[in-house]
Structures are given as C-alpha cells and as structure tokens.
C-alpha cells in the first residue's frame, strides 16, 4: 500500500550472547496504514519488544529499514523525528516525583513544543480524554495501576504523535482493569483515529483492539500469519463475542498461538 504511515522492510536483528550470536528478528516486513490499529502477538521471548523498539526508532536494525511516511528512519533519530512516536511502556514508567500533570507535560518540554502546542490546554485535553483531569495534582503512587497506565497513555499522546506505540501496556494489570482499559483505549482510538501499533500476549485483547493481528514465530521471529479482524467499532463494543465469525477467528488465533509456544 502506498500510503502506509509506518513500514518495516525486511528487518533483521541479532544479539551477541555468551552462547554466540543469536538472531531474534528475521526478515520482518510490516505495513501500518493510517488510522489503523495493528496488534503484534508472539511467544514470549520471541523478540516482540525488540521489534517495536526498532519500529519506534529507539533501536536500529542490523538489516532492512524502517520507513516513516516513506522516509527511512536514521540510526539515531533526532527529536523532530522521534516526536512522531508516542510510546507507552510495559510498566507505566511515570516519574514518581512529578504529579500526573507534570508527567503528562514532560514530552512537550523535552520536544520543545510547549509554546507551539499550548501546553496547558493540550495537557488538559489529554487528561480529560483518559479521564484523569480530576487527578492532575496526584502523584503516581497515589493512583491505582490502571490509572497510572491511563496517565502513561495521556503522556504518550500529548505531543499529538503520528503513531501510538504500545508495548504490552496492560500486561501487569489484573483481568478486570485490563478489560476496562481495553474499552478505554478502543474509545480513544475511535475518537482520535490515531494509528496504533500494540504488542500483546492476550488473544481477546488483540481481537478487541486490533483491526489486524500479526503473529510472530518463536525466535528468530518471522511473520507466521496476518489475521484481519473484520469488525467495526460498533460491533466490537456490542455483542461481537457471540458472533460465529468472531468465534472462528478466535479459535484459529488461539490454536496458532498455542502451536507456537
């Protein structure tokens, strides 16, 4: 597709370990279209996190390249490029000595966008979007795990990045909170139409959020399968889980994941 926002072209990556060179990523090509929500799944330790780190410019691949709007990412992207990626980490990674407001404001300061973006208004909008405006003066330790991760999402989106990159953001949360945050994230995606790439280890989560699920094999990771999730936002928030097609896709995906582990 010509208008893919983010493309990876035949990415390969190896690491030096004490048992010699270990290949973790092998020939991975992914196109992410604008406004699309792509989920990436794979057995644990297969290199999913390395892949997303390469896609967001924090690490560089050994072979192949990453294209952001058809421009190759340099080895060490500058701030002007990096600000196109809003990153949500596995653990919330909030700075505990800053309030929720100050944490959310941090990327605007770091990318020198405070004046350009009208930081006060922007931070307020983002905290309202994730439902944390009333907690803006709280410190992270005063928040629950789910609220912290919502603050982390607000922080990632505050610079209005082109793409939101989420690396197993809800993995450490309990099942109910996780489900609530999935609902929240899908709503945010539907409202903002932000392009999202998310790594997850949960089939339901991947099918609920993703329009496309990319399944990676065991290390060295290759793309095993790409599965389209052909349901609209309304269907997903409705009773899609009783849909026959949904069930058959879920069965297939679950079988696939189990066969890879």
């Amino acid at each position: 597709m010509a208008d893919a926002v983010l493309k990876t072209k035949k990415i390969g990556k190896s690491f030096d370990t004490n048992k010699g060179i270990k290949k973790v990523l092998d020939d991975i090509s992914i196109d992410v279209d604008e406004h699309e929500f792509v989920c990436i799944m794979g057995p644990s330790g297969c290199g999913k996190s390395t892949l997303i780190r390469i896609m967001e410019g924090i690490e560089s691949p050994d072979t192949g390249q990453v294209l952001l709007e058809n421009v190759p990412l340099p080895k060490r992207p500058e701030k002007s490029i990096q600000k196109n990626f809003g990153i949500v980490f596995q653990l919330d990674n909030l700075l505990e000595w800053k309030t929720v407001y100050k944490n959310t404001d941090l990327p605007l300061a770091a990318f020198h966008m405070k004046d350009k973006m009208n930081s006060q208004k922007r931070v307020m909008e983002m905290l309202q979007l994730v439902g944390l405006w009333d907690f803006k003066d709280c410190y992270p330790k005063e928040l629950s795990g789910g609220m912290k991760q919502r603050a982390a999402i607000a922080r990632a989106m505050v610079t209005d990045p082109k793409i939101l990159m989420l690396d197993q953001p809800f993995g450490a949360l309990d099942a109910i909170t996780r489900r609530m945050l999935n609902v929240e994230l899908l709503r945010i995606w539907n409202e903002t139409k932000k392009t999202c790439v998310m790594i997850t280890n949960n089939v339901e989560e991947a099918m609920y959020l993703g329009q496309r699920v990319i399944v990676l094999s065991k290390s060295p990771a290759k793309i095993v399968e790409e599965i389209k999730i052909p349901f609209s936002y309304e269907e997903k928030t409705g009773d899609v889980t009783e849909n026959k097609e949904y069930l058959s896709i879920r069965g297939k995906l679950q079988g696939l994941i189990r066969s890879l582990d």
């Binding site: 924090i58 990674n93 770091a110």
Partner: protein, 255 residues
C-alpha cells in the same frame, strides 16, 4: 488538624524509646561509678561531666567556634567537591575510569596517617584542618553519588531515550531525582567522616579547637572536662546528620 496531631504523636512515639534508654544508661553509669568509688580521672561520672559541661562553656566558646566553623566550611566544601566530581566522572566515562582508583585510594587512607605530613607543609593553622575534613569526607560523598547516578533505573533511561533527551535533560528530568537516595546516603556518611577528619586534625597539632582541648585536659587527667568537650563534638555531628536527613526527607517525599 488531626493530621498534624497524628504527626506530633508519631514523633513522640519515635522519640521516647531512645530517650528512656539514654537516661537508663546514664543512671547505670552513675551508679556503677558511685558504688565502686571509681576515681574521677579513670572514669568520670555523668554528673561530673555535665557539671564540667556547664561550667566550661564560656571558657570553651572560642574553641567551639573554631571547631564548628571549620567543620561547616569543610563539610560544605566536601559536598561541593564530591558532587561535582561525581557528575564529572559520570558525564565523562574516560575521566571516571582514570580517576576512580584514586578516589578509592583516598577513601581508604586513614587521614590521621597523613595529617602530620600535611602539617609540615601547611603549618598548624586553619587551612590544614579544613583540608583534612574535605579529604576525609569528599570521597565517600563522591562514591555514593556516582553509584546513584550510574545505577539509574533502566526503564527511566528508556523513557529518556523515547524523548531523545540530551544528557543535560536526562540529568534534569530524572537522573538527579533517581539518584537522590544514594546521594543522601553519601552526604550522611560524609557528615560523619568530616567530624572524624576535623577532630583528628585538631588532636594531631595546633592549639585551637575542641580536639586540642581534649588533649590538653587529658594531659592533666581531667577526664570529666575532656568528656564534656566530646559532648560538644557529638552535638555538632548529630545536628549535621539531622539537618541532612531532614533535607533529604523533604526532597524525597514523593519517592
């Protein structure tokens, strides 16, 4: 209202066990001395020490002033040198690799073995005492601060990378705050070390300061007067430690 009341109550709860213990120990000390008729020059009774403490304050004032001011100047200088060096070592790893062994060596030197040599060069005045304090206490401050700065939580650094923060920005946004617990460990140890340094220098040479006073009194077997000087030294050490701890607790209240 109730919150501040609770604070007072918890402060009292923290205070009374050590106070009771101290009083108890003093009573035992006093009783043992009195019951066995131990002579004053061997082991002064607490009452003797406190009498001397009260009686000598006026006479000791100039020495107290010298010891306290040397101590404060030396300690502040040690903090400046120690922290500046730590930042330098961490910002330029090559400099760090070159200097680290020296700092460890300096840390391992008991200053008492160097003070006589220093005095040959610098005389018996104030400067040699302040230098002793600085040299005794900056390495421990520097080593702890370096540990804190280099052991910043890697997930924090990943966040900094995601913002493409420059080294200075990284330092401002997270490294300094993340390193505070280690920095303050160093500052507290440094306070203790600086007390050792200052009194060591005073006891080795010169005739000013509480250290030289202790030498003087011991020369006349006036152990209660000597011990009353020790009380002044303990007092300053405790104040330094408490102030540093309080500043640390304030800066790290959200850690």
């Amino acid at each position: 209202m109730t919150k501040s009341k609770n604070k007072v109550v918890s402060a009292i709860n923290l205070m009374y066990p050590p106070v009771i213990l101290i009083v108890l120990l003093l009573v035992v000390w006093q009783t043992v001395c009195t019951a066995n008729a131990i002579s004053v020059w061997m082991l002064a009774k607490p009452t003797d020490i406190f009498t001397a403490f009260a009686a000598n304050t006026k006479e000791l004032l100039p020495d107290i002033w010298i010891t306290y001011s040397n101590e404060l100047i030396g300690y502040v200088l040690a903090i400046v040198v120690g922290l500046a060096l730590a930042i330098l070592l961490c910002a330029f790893p090559l400099v760090g690799a070159a200097l680290n062994p020296f700092i460890i060596v300096v840390c391992c030197i008991p200053m008492i073995s160097l003070v006589p040599t220093l005095m040959l060069v610098l005389g018996l005045g104030r400067s040699v005492k302040i230098i002793t304090i600085v040299v005794q206490s900056f390495p421990i401050i520097c080593m702890n601060a370096s540990t804190g700065i280099t052991n910043v939580d890697p997930t924090r650094l990943e966040l900094m990378q995601s913002l493409k923060a420059t080294k200075a920005e990284q330092f401002r946004y997270c490294i300094l705050k993340d390193a505070l617990p280690d920095i303050f460990t160093g500052l507290k140890l440094g306070a203790v070390m600086s007390m050792i340094g200052g009194v060591t220098a005073e006891m080795t040479g010169g005739n000013s300061g509480l250290g030289s006073r202790i030498n003087y009194y011991i020369g006349f077997s006036k152990s209660s007067e000597a011990l009353s000087c020790v009380i002044y030294i303990i007092l300053l050490g405790a104040i330094l430690y408490a102030v540093v701890s309080a500043i640390g607790a304030h800066l790290m209240k959200h850690h």
